[in-house]
């Protein structure tokens, strides 16, 4: 079994600061692996270990995205590939999916792709489904449990808004992972020592037989607005009975009760 995990390097949310002109202050940003992708990595590793398989992690991003790939290697992935090209700076989710689909096709022997359900920076949730579309494979999104995975079939539980469903699919397939899928492992100390010497190949668009024109529209951020400030709280006065009465009244008025 050859599993690919798509890994996006994103800013740690607490490290993102907005400048007074609403641009993002890039200086203090701490790059991390997208939260949902860590669950995808862990699931791929667990099933590869059970099936004597192999895990390749792929990231589309700048050169420093190798930090995330190295973490995935230290967690246990076998190989990593960085896709970096000057023309990919503003690529949208669908364009990125097209590029990664070409990389997966180039690898050739891939049975299953694990992605996070969405990234914590753009939050579009489009990448996994678009990737499945470009590969022409079935997609199983919002997976919170994988019951069975063989070289030909997979059985999973999906968490939908108001439904939990158990689904079977034949391989190859694209999975998108939700938070409860597993408990991601820490990088192994022995592997940390090895991965700093492991080369990570960088593929460009031309390596994948693509051109920038073929990727569809790019995304330009027209405007960025900070969330409105939270209204200040209200302190109720009077004795406890009066306060409780007033509180209940306010909760009813606000349609909370």
């Amino acid at each position: 079994m050859h599993a690919v995990v798509c890994v996006k390097q994103v800013p740690e949310q607490n490290s993102v600061k907005i400048n007074s002109d609403t641009t993002i202050d890039a200086s203090g940003i701490t790059p991390i692996i997208n939260l949902f992708d860590e669950y995808a990595i862990e699931e791929a590793l667990q099933w590869a270990e059970k099936n004597d398989g192999k895990v390749t992690v792929i990231s589309l991003g700048p050169d420093d995205a190798t930090d995330s790939l190295k973490k995935a290697l230290a967690m246990g992935a076998n190989e990593a590939i960085l896709i970096n090209d000057d023309s990919l700076g503003q690529v949208g989710a669908q364009g990125a999916a097209k590029v990664v689909a070409a990389a997966i096709q180039k690898l050739g022997d891939v049975n299953i792709v694990f992605c996070g359900k969405q990234s914590t920076d753009d939050e579009t949730g489009q990448f996994g489904p678009a990737l499945a579309r470009f590969l022409g494979w079935p997609q199983l999104t919002y997976v919170f449990k994988v019951h069975e995975l063989t070289d030909s079939q997979i059985v999973v539980d999906r968490a939908l808004e108001d439904t939990l469903e158990t689904v079977e699919a034949s391989l190859p397939v694209v999975i998108t992972a939700v938070k409860d899928l597993n408990e991601p492992r820490y990088p192994s100390l022995l592997k940390i020592r090895k991965v700093s010497k492991q080369p990570i190949p960088t593929w460009t668009l031309s390596d994948l037989g693509l051109s920038a024109d073929s990727l569809g529209g790019t995304i330009n951020i027209a405007k960025r607005t900070p969330p409105p400030p939270r209204p200040s709280g209200e302190i109720l006065s009077g004795d406890v009975q009066t306060q409780v009465k007033e509180l209940v009244q306010k909760l009813i008025e606000s349609q909370i009760l």
Binding site: Y186, P187, L189, I192
Partner: protein, 415 residues
Amino acid sequence: MIDWTANYGFFLNEQHDMLRKTVRDFAEKEVAPYIREWDRAGAHETGVAEHMLPIIKRMGELGFLGVCIPQRYGGAGFDYLALAVVCEELERVDTALRVVLSVHTGLNSLAVFQWGTEEQKQKFLKPQATGEKIAAYCLTEPNAGTDVAGMQSTAVREGDHYVLNGEKTWISLSDLADHFLVVAYTDKSKRQRGMTAFLVERTMDGVSTSPIHGKLGVRAGNTGSVVFNNVRVPVANRLGEEGEGFKIAMTALDNGRYTVASGATGLIQASLEASLRYAKERETFGKPIADHQLVKRMISHMVLNLETARMLCYRAGWLKNQGIRNTRETTLAKWHATVESFNAANDAIQIHGAYGFSDEYPVERYLRNSRGAIIYEGTRELQELLQADFALEDRVSKPLRCELPAYDEDFWNAE
């Protein structure tokens, strides 16, 4: 938030950075959410907090306990600087975690690595590096701390055994350890030259332990007494030769003090980070307290002491990597980092005002935890005297029969 660990590339490499992230992730996920409750429980209960054993086992599984031990002895094969990185990150969350590295890895395992026979390394070091067995270090006695020669424990040779008697106290992990590195007199008339070191196993008849109650700090950890009552220790468990016990104890302290200094550096960072967060949030006189000059002064002193402590620690670690004796450099780092960790925590409380006086915020725990390290593993006063003696050339480090091996990547990697 500034990354206070950045720009140390002249000592650290990418592997150290990944290691740091891993240890930080562990400490923040698996300890930070619970540490206030563990610390509170340690103040009231038996002194052997139930949480500690699973956490030590977890640190063993993750490879932290053998981080700088060669892979052939069950370790992760990092260098000695990595030990500092682990200690910094553990004590950044709580001192009790770093104490494990100090006694298990610094004082015991590295002493076995430095002085032990191949058989002893296989029997003791290997299971300690993986965390399968837990190790402690027994030097201090009820009437002998800094004055090591005042110890009363004795070991009398009887055929292929020694009969060990005595009481050791203020022993970290006393109630959890499987292995104890114990120093006792085999010939009291020779003073320091009459001391011998032994690797004692809890399973031996006559070993008993009990916790110490009512500690000021490190309440989440376990500290206690170990009593040896006619314990028959095989000669094969003697570490080094007869009469080498004092040297073994002191070289172990070169490694233990290094972990204490590194941990204290992490504690300064924790105090600084807590102070920066609070000083930006809290407003007085219509502006954040971070805008008041005397608050800025406390912050700037924390920065100065954090960076100087860190550099002193890394210099000591670099010397260990080169195989160069580092007693002077390590004691300087230990003196500076521990004293300044107390001052940083004290100022962090001041910045937090009355909130800092309550365990609603972590800074009062930092203060209580920092205080012990100004006493244990060499008091502040001992470090001061050592520095003067080195400067006056009244003290020199003479070559040893067994030096701590220099870091050799090929040897450390070989299985």
